[in-house]
């Protein structure tokens, strides 16, 4: 199951990054901060935006099939969908 956590974490981090980005812009737009603080916000924003963009471009879908064991626990296996199956 290596990679599971990083994928899940990746999604969460993007969410956090996007939220941080939005709040950065909001704060910067008020223009109440000193110039030095504004510059720091701006630099952080540009860095976050680049990171989000990179993440959004690099995702690789992960698909697992879950089956139920007799004791109610779950087993995970790579999901193989047969595209030729006629349904």
């Amino acid at each position: 199951m290596t990679g599971t956590d990083s994928t899940v974490e990746g999604g969460t981090r993007i969410e956090n990054d996007l939220e941080r980005l939005e709040s950065l812009v909001r704060e910067l737009e008020t223009g109440k901060d000193g110039l030095e603080r504004s510059l720091a916000l701006f630099e952080e924003g540009v860095r976050l935006a680049a990171r989000c963009q990179a993440r959004l471009e690099e995702f690789d879908q992960r698909i697992l099939e879950v089956s139920r064991n007799a004791d109610g626990t779950a087993s995970l296996a790579p999901f193989a969908h047969d595209p030729t199956h006629p349904d």
């Binding site: 812009v25 995702f59 697992l64």
Partner: protein, 408 residues
């Protein structure tokens, strides 16, 4: 054994059956519940009549356009009606079917009625209440799919998820979606997933329940009370994507989000990566814009400060000048005072010298001045006694006062 009959051609068998059928069932009324109604662009009306007297039986039927256009009502699925027509064989498909000439409605069918009754019961319980709907997370990390492991639905869902939000891990929970076992399997899988949610490694953020299109009966599992209640009870938000756009199930009503198709369910479960990329670009522009504005503000401030500084410097210079002028005035005044003092002293000295030569000083020592006055009273100092004649008036000034006298 040479008595084997000569084999018949398939077409001949079909033709023979058709002849017998059409002869014996040329004009019969059949009562049933309409299902799988379809009216393609040809204008013919295709439907299935399902037995509504308790037998498990169906009859395919068609009403050709020429008859269908004369219908005074629009047949709907679930409707009970009497079809009048002949029975025949559609030999290209080896299928036995009814060709209806007329249709008569008979209230609503049992299946449809049951569905309506269940819908009303659940509505009364508040299961469709909008306040019960859970929000679909904006950025799901794990998406659970409860549907058949094969077929178009799972393929469509996975395809759309990959396109929109490959960040999410997808977990497929294969279940039968039609047939007797379907409702139980779907409901118990939903319950199980909710139990598993207590384990972080098995927690789903959102569930998609659904199946691809089929006949109305094929969607029955999604109208099953157990399935509907399992969806309602799920603590994990559920998106229902069943059948085609026009299909509507109770599962759709109770789900937190209704999707028109399985593909649409995948759309409703995820943010779009393309949209997010555009959003990030937009944010970047906003950042730059805000920073530009901020810099412009700072420049403005700088300009103001410089102007103020310039004003302050001028003010300071002016004050310096004022001070200098003040000092100068002070010095000039001092000098003037000194000069005036000196002049006073000189004046006093001159006055005393003048005093010394004043005739009045001589008078003080006993001398006097004598003036001869003419007739008009003007006086002329007398230096010689011959200058006066008898009778003239004299004015003599002594140290204190004057004496008037007449010459004798």
């Amino acid at each position: 054994m040479s008595t084997d009959p000569k084999p018949f051609a398939v077409g001949d068998v079909c033709a023979d059956i058709r002849n017998r059928l059409e002869k014996n069932f040329s004009n019969i009324p059949v009562i049933g519940e309409v299902t799988n109604l379809s009216r393609p662009s040809s204008g013919h009306l295709y439907f299935t009549l399902r037995d509504c007297s308790g037998n498990d039986a169906i009859l395919s039927a068609v009403m050709y356009k020429s008859e269908a256009v004369r219908l005074r009502f629009a047949p709907t699925n679930g409707q009970q009606l009497i079809a009048i027509g002949k029975l025949t064989i559609y030999s290209q498909q080896g299928r036995f079917q009814m060709v209806a000439r007329a249709l008569q409605p008979v209230g609503i069918g049992e299946r449809e009625l049951a569905l309506r009754q269940l819908t009303e019961k659940l509505r009364a319980e508040g299961l469709f209440d909008p306040n019960r709907k859970r929000a679909i997370p904006r950025f799901p990390a794990r998406i659970g799919i409860i549907t058949s492991g094969t077929g178009s639905a799972i393929r469509d869902i996975l395809e759309k998820l990959r396109e929109r939000w490959p960040a999410a891990e997808v977990r497929v929970f294969p279940v039968p979606v039609q047939g007797e076992r379907a409702p139980g399997a779907i409901a118990s899988t939903l319950d199980w997933i909710n139990l598993l949610a207590e384990l972080p490694e098995h927690r789903m953020d959102v569930l998609i329940v659904g199946r691809g299109g089929g006949s109305i009966e094929d969607l029955d599992a999604f109208n099953d009370e157990f399935v509907v209640r399992a969806v309602a009870d799920s603590v994990i938000p559920v998106i229902s994507g069943v059948g085609h756009e026009d299909d509507r199930t109770i599962c759709d009503l109770v789900a937190d989000q209704r999707a028109l198709t399985p593909t649409d369910a995948a759309v409703k479960a995820t943010p779009s990566r393309a949209d997010l990329l555009a959003f990030v670009q937009f944010i970047r522009q906003q950042l730059e814009k805000a920073m530009r504005l901020r810099l412009a503000d700072a420049l403005d401030d700088l300009r103001h400060a410089r102007a103020k500084l310039r004003r302050d410097v001028l003010q300071m210079r002016l004050e310096g000048l004022k001070r200098r002028v003040g000092t100068c005035a002070e010095r000039i005044r001092g000098q003037m005072l000194g000069k005036m003092e000196k002049m006073h002293l000189r004046l006093r000295a001159l006055a005393s010298r003048l005093d010394a030569v004043s005739p009045l000083q001589v008078l003080g020592r006993g001398y006097s001045l004598t003036k001869v006055l003419n007739v008009s009273g003007e006086g002329k100092l007398v230096f010689d006694a011959s200058e006066v004649a008898s009778g003239q008036r004299l004015e003599t000034t002594v140290a204190k006062g004057t004496i008037l006298s007449v010459v004798v």
